[in-house]
Symmetry: C2
Subunit: 135 residues, 2 copies
DNA sequence: GCAGGAGTTTACGTTAACGTAAACGTAAGC
DNA sequence: GCTTACGTTTACGTTAACGTAAACTCCTGC
């Protein structure tokens, strides 16, 4: 029993398979394609999604959970690409990476403080429940 | 020299003061009021913001950085309020707090993986730069 | 006494991210 | 041969979160 005995990854997906898996509509998936975030293969008219396409879709949805716009998600996805050749572009990429990192660090701080406040709120709510249910 | 010798907190703010401080427009601030997220005092027609109003505004903007809608931010802000009296409401509040916590934990995971990928991308970019600038 | 600056209300415009619906093609099952 | 399921394109509708502009009031400095 090797590690590759796992469920076995499909070599392609239909649009509705992906829609079901990620709980979004096919309309949304086509919309992402319109916006240039996906470009699946075609058999005739029908779209055929590769495992790589599926990964890109996951990245898009992760971006959404972090509050990114589709444009921002596209930029992030583009960072994984082959190095865009020329030096100036690479330096802009490094700059961009630095900015994203700073944004994520701010989000970490924001989450930390919000978490603390949720703890407080939960404490107060539990205390109030005690008062209300004490006989 | 006591701790209270710090810059000294104003006891009230004008709308344009807040707009400048947080780098947003007065239009946005009034919009938040329309949506029920703020309710500043008035002197005549003019809005006067208390330090508490200012805190609420900060919470709204933190919510935005985390990708929350204004409705979500309002719900979160409402969690700090006096305990809403009855038991059922308190239990709904606890449930809601749990859900938000779960969402924040997902965001933490998302940020962590994205950070790792940014590291990779930066590594590749730096490597490509080496190749291009090596004489 | 009036120009300039800050504030107000009212209202229409705009962008992003899809939703919804129409009208059609194609392949499978009965 | 007809329905049912799944796919397609095209196009108009919708919601959130403001932007922009008009028309007005109220103070302040000169």
């Amino acid at each position: 029993m090797k590690a590759t005995d796992s469920p076995a990854e499909p070599s392609s997906y239909s649009i509705s398979e992906l829609a079901r898996e990620f709980d979004i509509t096919t309309r949304a998936i086509r919309f992402y394609e319109d916006k240039g975030l996906l470009s699946p293969a075609r058999r005739g008219q029908t779209r055929i999604y590769s495992p790589e396409d599926r990964v890109r879709l996951k990245l898009i949805l992760r971006g959404k959970r972090l509050g990114f716009s589709l444009d921002e998600s596209r930029e992030i996805i583009d960072m994984y690409d082959p190095a865009h050749g020329n030096v100036e572009q690479l330096q802009r990429l490094l700059l961009h990476i630095g900015q994203k990192r700073a944004q994520l660090q701010q989000q970490l701080r924001d989450i930390e403080s919000l978490m603390g406040e949720l703890d407080d709120a939960e404490g107060r709510a539990r205390a109030a429940l005690q008062l209300n249910t004490d006989s």
